[in-house]
């Protein structure tokens, strides 16, 4: 019986070696990413095409869901079978990997090509730089501080389009009376916390955001302003329909596109949904960054390159890193993705009215907002989001309780 089992093992072994031998060639690179939907696929294809035009092979490992993809990357690093390159967000997600010496330093190519001179905004350099060396390549910028407005719905309801969250709260009952859903929301934790962060930054400003998320200043957190933001967040709840829990963000966007809902608070990627539906920016729909002061956050994606014992792999990795920041590649990639490039000398002629607003804003260093995940570990951010999502969904969860639970997270050292 044992013999039989071992024979079986040997029989199945070659099956796995066939695939291994494929990967033994010249400049081959396996890339793990989570860009699996329409526009994202188009964008990652631009990278792959550019790579293959250089005479190389691109092995695509697309895994749906950032969590699954990042988990796979980490598992494979631990298991000793890392990919050539892997996607992470602009955040602290991969700090551990750098600290444990698992990532390839890109300093050679970064200093040779002068990355520090052309990467813009400069805050992106902070994300990638550890002890004077580059460990990641930022590839695009997304901002999440946008309010998407269906102009027709506001016209029908006979109320002016809002420029701030408070203005929206003032006119929302009229929209409701006119038979529309004032606020389209997808009830997933990340969407709820995105909305809350917009409420926070647009009403309380960027310095306050830094004090709480960056400095973890308990007295600033407890000075009454955060409670106010939570209360506003809860006030917005009245204008959300019951079907929200679990709804995908693009289904919520579709509600605004189709004129069922008036407003969605969502990142700049929502623009793609309007474009697909043939809607024109500033004519059919409007994009507004709410608040007296306009801020844009720096979200987006980076690629990291896990260390390998094979010196040839390093060569491949540096070459790919260099390709990703190339201005021509950047233009193609970001136009397909609908995101902003990570350098200013990129051709953005294809940008629409809303995208141009974003491009203008990131040129002003005072308008740049650091999100909680620029300061904090994923564990911290997610524990924070837990409280926010439960707070939105459970009307019995009082502001005071939520404040206590948030303070626990704030002081937890996560």
């Amino acid at each position: 019986m044992k013999k039989f089992i071992s024979i079986l093992f040997y029989l199945t072994l070659p099956l796995s070696f066939i695939s291994v031998s494929k990967a033994g060639g010249h400049m081959e690179a396996e890339v793990i990413h989570w860009w699996t939907s329409g526009g994202e696929q188009a964008a990652i294809t631009k990278f792959a095409e550019a790579w293959e035009d250089m005479g190389n092979t691109w092995i695509d490992t697309a895994i749906t869901g950032g969590e699954n993809a990042r988990g796979t990357t980490v598992n494979r690093i631990i298991g000793g079978n890392p990919p050539t390159a892997a996607q992470f967000n602009i955040s602290k997600q991969f700090v551990d990997l750098v600290e444990q010496g698992q990532l390839q330093s890109l300093e050679e190519v970064a200093s040779a090509e002068g990355w520090r001179d052309f990467i813009y905004p400069k805050a992106l350099i902070e994300t990638c730089e550890f002890e004077g060396e580059f460990y990641c390549v930022p590839v695009n910028i997304h901002s999440s501080q946008w309010m998407w407005i269906n102009k027709e719905v506001f016209a029908k309801a006979g109320v002016p389009e809002p420029n701030t969250i408070q203005e929206f709260i003032n006119v929302a009952p009229a929209i409701q009376d006119a038979g529309f859903i004032p606020l389209a929301l997808g009830g997933q934790p990340w969407q709820e916390s995105l909305m809350f962060d917009v409420v926070l930054s647009s009403t309380l400003g960027r310095d306050y955001s830094r004090q709480v998320y960056g400095d973890k200043d308990v007295s600033a957190f407890r000075d009454g302003r955060y409670e106010l933001a939570l209360q506003t967040f809860r006030d917005l709840n009245k204008f959300v329909d019951e079907g929200a829990p679990g709804r995908l963000w693009n289904d919520a966007t579709a509600m605004v596109v189709e004129g069922k809902a008036a407003v969605q608070i969502m990142g700049d990627w929502a623009r793609g949904e309007f474009a697909v539906a043939g809607k024109v920016a500033k004519e059919d729909y409007n994009c507004v960054i709410p608040g007296e002061e306009k801020y844009v956050g720096l979200g987006g994606d980076v690629f990291v390159f896990p260390k390998s014992s094979d010196p040839k792999v390093k060569e491949v990795q540096l070459k790919m890193a260099s390709m990703m920041v190339n201005p021509t590649v950047q233009a193609k990639f970001n136009n397909a993705k609908g995101s902003l490039p990570m350098r200013l000398d990129v051709d953005t002629a294809a940008a629409d009215a809303c995208m141009k607003m974003g491009l203008e804003l990131i040129k002003n260093p005072d308008a740049l907002l650091k999100d909680s995940d620029d300061y904090n570990s994923p564990a911290f951010v997610n524990a924070w989001d837990d409280v926010l999502t439960e707070f939105r969904n459970d009307s019995g969860y009082s502001v005071a309780d939520a404040m206590d639970d948030l303070e626990n997270v704030l002081t937890s050292g996560l």
């Binding site: 044992k2 969590e67 551990d96 997933q188 969904n393 459970d394």
Partner: protein, 293 residues
């Protein structure tokens, strides 16, 4: 002498012994050791004592998860047993097309949890699902908002799970019923006891082993419930349908919070041991001794 006796059996059981020791026991020890660290994305030995456990018990989400696993465990287990038994009794009534009905009740068991979750999410969706259908038929009062109602969402999970698991219990129970001697039925009918009474008071105790087996097989699934909830509610609305297994998984994967994940999984393991130990003691020690006597 020791090695010679039952040598074949010893060699044959070697894989089981090695796996039990290295994987099962080894993993528990490994998890416990790293639950005492503040490991984030990858396991690193930075000793922090029982901080992770302290944090775990201070987390509201964990409380919700524990509460949910009790609700799910009780409703799912009882639901499966009651419906499984009921269906088995019905099928046992010499009905026509017996094997057709049996197949209908059993097929959900062949589906993966992901599929079960997806299809029920679709059926219970308040915008497109059954509620919408009823409204189109004019029953505008009809409400089925379980998935978006934070108090009821966990019961929606239970329904989907019972739908999937009841057929398997039915088969086990049916096998038990078919093992009942014809003479018992004869004597029961001679004494004029109504059929439903006979099933509940006489037959049910007789198929007790099958009930226990069903219970064990169902219970082993309860602790691990993860894929189903992920596909059905992703733990929402809010985090009202989260479970301990989900808590562990998200800390492992999305949150890069390994220390916390290990601590939570150790607590899960200890709870399972506490529930299981008395049963295991009875089953393998007490009963074996009984048999020898």
């Amino acid at each position: 002498m020791f090695f010679k006796r039952n040598l074949g059996a010893k060699i044959a059981l070697l894989p089981m012994i090695i796996i039990s020791l290295t994987v099962f026991v080894g993993c528990i020890i490994y998890s416990f050791v790293y639950s005492l660290t503040n490991s984030k994305l990858i396991p690193v030995f930075n000793y922090v004592g029982f901080d992770q456990y302290e944090r775990l018990f201070k987390t509201r989400k964990w409380d919700v998860a524990v509460e949910n696993i009790f609700i799910y465990g009780i409703v799912f287990t009882i639901g499966c047993l009651v419906i499984g038994f009921l269906l088995a009794v019905l099928i046992d009534q010499k009905i026509r097309a017996e094997s057709l009905f049996r197949t209908i009740f059993l097929y959900p068991y062949a589906m993966s949890f992901v599929v079960t979750g997806l299809v029920w999410k679709w059926v219970l969706n308040p915008t497109f699902g059954i509620e919408h259908s009823m409204h189109l038929w004019g029953f505008t009062w009809f409400e089925l908002d379980w998935l978006v109602n934070r108090d009821l969402a966990i019961y929606a999970v239970c329904i989907a799970a019972v739908w999937q698991g009841a057929g398997f219990v039915m088969v086990l129970m049916l096998a038990g019923l078919r093992g009942i001697d014809e003479d018992i039925w004869k004597s029961l009918s001679i004494e004029g006891i109504p059929k439903w009474k006979s099933y509940i008071f006489v037959i049910l105790p007789m198929i007790r082993p099958m009930v226990i087996t069903s219970l064990v097989l169902i219970a082993a699934g309860v602790v691990k419930v993860y894929d189903l909830i992920l596909a059905l509610t992703s733990g929402g609305p809010g985090y009202s349908t989260t479970t301990p297994a989900m808590y562990v998984m998200e800390n492992f994967f999305s949150r890069a919070n390994l220390g916390q994940a290990f601590a939570a999984s150790i607590i899960m393991f200890i709870s399972v041991v506490c529930i299981l130990a008395p049963w295991a003691y009875y089953e393998f020690y007490f009963r074996n001794r009984e048999a020898k006597v």
